[in-house]
Symmetry: C2
Subunit: 396 residues, 2 copies
Amino acid sequence: MTLLNAERLYAMMDKHGLDAIVATSPENVTYSSGYWALSQWTRRGPQTYVVWPARGKGAPRIIASASLLDLIADQEISVEDVSKFGSFFVNVDRDASLDPAECRQAVLYGLSDGGSAKATLVATLKELGLSEARIGVDEGGLAPSLGAFELEACQGATLVPAFEVFRQARAVKTEEEITRLAKAAHIAEASIDAALRIARPGVTEAELSLEFNLETIRQGGLPVLYCIGTGPRSAMPNVMPGERALCVGDIIRFDVGGRFRHYRADIAQIAVLGEPTPKIKTYHNALLRGVQRGMDLARPGARASEIFHRVVETVQREGIPHYQRSHVGHGIGLDGYDLPDLSPGSDHTIEEGMVLCIETPYYELGFGGLQVENMVVVRRDCVQSLMATSGELRVV
Amino acid sequence: MTLLNAERLYAMMDKHGLDAIVATSPENVTYSSGYWALSQWTRRGPQTYVVWPARGKGAPRIIASASLLDLIADQEISVEDVSKFGSFFVNVDRDASLDPAECRQAVLYGLSDGGSAKATLVATLKELGLSEARIGVDEGGLAPSLGAFELEACQGATLVPAFEVFRQARAVKTEEEITRLAKAAHIAEASIDAALRIARPGVTEAELSLEFNLETIRQGGLPVLYCIGTGPRSAMPNVMPGERALCVGDIIRFDVGGRFRHYRADIAQIAVLGEPTPKIKTYHNALLRGVQRGMDLARPGARASEIFHRVVETVQREGIPHYQRSHVGHGIGLDGYDLPDLSPGSDHTIEEGMVLCIETPYYELGFGGLQVENMVVVRRDCVQSLMATSGELRVV
């Protein structure tokens, strides 16, 4: 199992003339090594790095805080070498026989302390023979006090920003990533079903949200996005579930998705409590046609901007003549918004292995919000849905 | 209800000679305005700011993406003025009568577009008469492409880093913050109880964790930290619940806490399945005495480094002579690690209104981990626990 598309990362490094690339943001650290460093994900500030030399230029290395080394021993990590910074007190029971994970921990805790995160990074680059190299540094996770300029002052290397290089690499998913994304999408669908099972007049958004999040947990996910709005509140793009009680005729808009093994889902569905009005039916059908058009067009080689224009045109023609959007979708992976952007200004081309959220949200204050958003993977000859549902209007 | 300790923030601005301070990281934006800007919290990169002029130097202002304005209309926000960047398409039903929140949204969407986040920030500083001022910029959430140097190039202002100024302000909590922190602590305790209700031989860490997180959701929280390790795996400081099945005699270590209305909990408890060994009893008692000593000493005016030494000494004297730690606690709030640090190198002094996690973890590979961690608020004459439990060893 590997999350990293190593061939693609090497190709990106070649393209940008990099001798090595350094991951610093949580998404890129987990992507390039499998290492999920708890504090880096749950807080802002804690530093963890992965140094990846270009092909043939040495072995990759994790640079981790002493306080987080146990997770390296207990996770499926694709990078063998580790440098440690800081100290952390862990004892060893001399009478116990240690299992392999405990032995690995003992070895890791015993590594020499590189000092600060920055000092350890600089020393590691030197050890890897990269002191004079051209190095791409993911600027997304570097602590402000560790700005690229400061690093550069420490040595003869040329440092260039590489956050976008990682985003480009991550845009095409490995099969392991696609499997996790599909599971995340299924969890979101099951969670919508769980919420809708209790939908009846008088039930609040908060109650729907509770059922939604409980099901996400039961299915092995973690809640992240749970915009669930009812009636006119469904028009709020980022609606946080509140105390409004459901009435007959209400729209229920779900724009939702949690994490499964670090990978995100982002899907949308619309349900109506009782008989939908003709306006709801017409508008929703137009939005669904738009997404279907996007799914038809998202083939390897298609231009993202072209898909945008065709999708918006379709929605306008099929029932919402005034429909306007800034984008009709985006990639998804460890981050909720991976490349490509399906927007008019996008210069991306669709590639095999991209996972896309294709979406046509519509917000109207005083009326409500409607939205179709499907997760799909681009295969050589087709677009494969990662979902069991297709975006049809649901009547409950 | 206000999260912000405005008097303290003003005092910090005076102390550091600032004409204004700019919040950029999610914690500081929410703290200074009440505004919880979804994408900023769930992803890395999206920009939201709050500009707070010093006392008498103008009204504070939120700078928000057009795509997140609905949440301003729907949340309890303590800042009235808003500047917008970017565009977002929302329609209005001309036949509907809008409620106040919808009217507010319509007004916000109608604000002029300031362009990029950075351009809008620079323009806002100018409008507020701060073009030549000394401005503290929280460097924690500024997108790398928005580095302080670049901002400075745009105008005559002097920019100084202010992430630490905000941390110092946030260290003393308002009553609303304390109420939320107490609820977060209670949710964590209830979640431990829920997990322990199913503890019996054969039950896995993952199953305990599932019950833990379900209870956190039921109680209105969101899972963040759920390190739950059994037997020798309890020695892993950041243990992620796995497939190990409980055996009689096992330690179960919980180092856990979710979020409640954006505020964190971080507590620890130890349970043993069956009769604890003398070593477990002795060691746990020593750790508990250490925390109790910390709670006795954490009075306004006490030095954090002094508390550290007395707590470690107590644990050593009461049963773990070789006990060593890098810290014995920390503040908590919107972030899991607020000031002060209870560490030997800390120069902090305890103040009334600080909320502390006082902790004495002990990790021994081959044996297991033990830990007491209690959340308390420092009052004028006493330390008040925010928990129903006191850190006693639990036998299940």
